[in-house]
């Protein structure tokens, strides 16, 4: 039974919020129970951003992740440091190895190193690193289909961003390949 509790975390600007939103949206399209909760920091500028995404077959209780993340996607070092310990034993940790040199500390979890920025740059823009990570995540967990994520992308961003669909499809694919 699906009960994914995913933390997406990184610098502001790395697209972690929209990565989470797309996953949530796709979950909704596939008729799963979903929620998305951003950390809205103190009324201050800068720093890191993260969101907690739930995708589940059953009703979602608390939308908060507290030491019970099934997956953590860490796009930068501070995020890795902060969230590795939030994983349940057996949880999955996706590390953006393009920006994070450190290795995971725990040995009771599954760790995937994805050079997301490098892959994205190879596709033409470093901005797609978040989609690369999402592709890797989906390949491992099968939480939703990657086609559904693309469908969600179209719904969320509309026709003005339609030209980016192929790029994003590619990014999801390459991300998936990176963990195959």
């Amino acid at each position: 039974m699906l009960n994914e509790k995913v933390v997406c975390a990184g610098f502001g600007g790395q697209g972690v919020m929209s990565m989470g939103k797309l996953l949530t949206y796709a979950g909704m399209i596939e008729d799963k129970q979903v929620s998305w909760l951003p950390s809205y920091g103190p009324e201050m500028r800068g720093g890191t951003a993260n969101c907690a995404v739930m995708v589940s077959d059953t009703l979602i209780g608390s939308p908060i992740i507290e030491k019970d993340a099934t997956t953590v996607i860490a796009m930068n070092l501070p995020s890795l440091i902060k969230f590795e310990e939030e994983l349940v034993p057996g949880g999955k940790l996706f590390i953006n190895s393009s920006l994070i040199e450190r290795k995971a500390q725990r040995d009771d979890i599954e760790v995937y190193y994805v050079p997301a920025n490098e892959i994205a740059v190879s596709l033409g823009t470093g901005k797609a690193a978040n989609m690369v990570m999402l592709g890797a995540y989906l390949e491992v967990t099968k939480t939703v289909k990657s086609e559904t994520v693309i469908e969600a992308f179209k719904k969320v961003f509309g026709p003005t961003k339609a030209h980016l669909v192929p790029l994003n499809e590619n990014a999801l694919l390459k991300g998936a390949e990176a963990v195959k």
Binding site: M44, R45, G46
Partner: protein, 248 residues
């Protein structure tokens, strides 16, 4: 080699939390320098607003109060009445002073309250994420003015200094900008006068500082300075509007 520029004792060691290129930092510095130069740091009691500069209490190296949103002039009044020999100042943003706190600033001026206000006009609500301020320019976009400020619905931006200059208790009123080193030096002079006005018991003193908010304007810090020069400065002319010494 002689030191020609060093960090003032008027500031603590805390790093500013402001966004890159945010001019709040410049205004903090020159205010703190004035306090140091006038030798009043030990007598100064500042009042921080609610706004991006809410943490000003961590930065000024003197006693500080954090006021409710818009009420800094009332808080300062309370302090000054209790301790008339102290040097009391407020540091306020345009949402804080010109919107929710309009009555408090008008009446601090009206009573001729012997306090000094540093008024940071960045034409936006910085802290809460770029909502429209009374000082937002016509056509300027804000998160609560997504189609740009519409004069027919929201009026033209409020010229706070011109308004306060009609009040006799406002002994010193000047508008400055911090867009260039030269203007920053002028701004500092105005701030110094505003404190001297208090020290000499002349009445209420306010310096309006045209400032930037690169983050919520959606610009680089450098572009924000240009936008300030090209858009704000023509609408908000710099200059002294009231001066207690001229009158004498």
């Amino acid at each position: 080699m002689a030191v020609v520029f060093n960090k003032t004792q008027g500031l603590t060691e805390k790093e500013f939390h402001y966004c890159p290129g945010c001019t709040h930092g410049i205004i903090h510095r020159i205010t703190a320098e004035v306090l140091e130069e006038l030798g009043v740091l030990g007598d100064a009691i500042g009042v921080a607003p609610v706004g991006c500069s809410v943490l000003a209490y961590d930065y000024f190296n003197c006693d500080m109060n954090e006021a409710a949103h818009g009420r800094a002039p009332a808080v300062a009044t309370g302090i000054k009445r209790a301790l008339p020999d102290k040097v009391v100042f407020t540091y306020q943003g345009d949402g804080d002073l010109a919107s929710i706190g309009a009555a408090e600033v008008v009446h601090a001026a009206h009573r001729g309250e012997k306090i000094t206000t540093i008024f940071v006009n960045n034409a936006i609500y910085g802290m809460t994420g770029g909502q429209m301020a009374p000082t937002t320019l016509v056509g300027q976009k804000a998160t609560t003015a997504p189609y740009g400020r519409d004069e027919s619905l929201c009026g033209q931006p409020l010229k706070v200094s011109e308004m306060l200059a009609t009040i006799n208790g406002a002994a010193f009123v000047e508008r400055v900008a911090v867009d260039t080193p030269a203007n920053i030096r002028k701004a500092k002079k105005a701030i110094k006068k505003a404190f001297e006005c208090q020290l000499e018991g002349k009445g209420y003193a306010i310096v309006e500082v045209l400032s930037t908010c690169p983050t919520n304007w959606g610009m680089t810090p450098v572009d924000a300075i240009s936008w300030l020069q090209e858009n704000m400065m023509p609408y908000y002319p710099m200059g002294n509007l009231r001066n207690p010494w001229e009158v004498e």
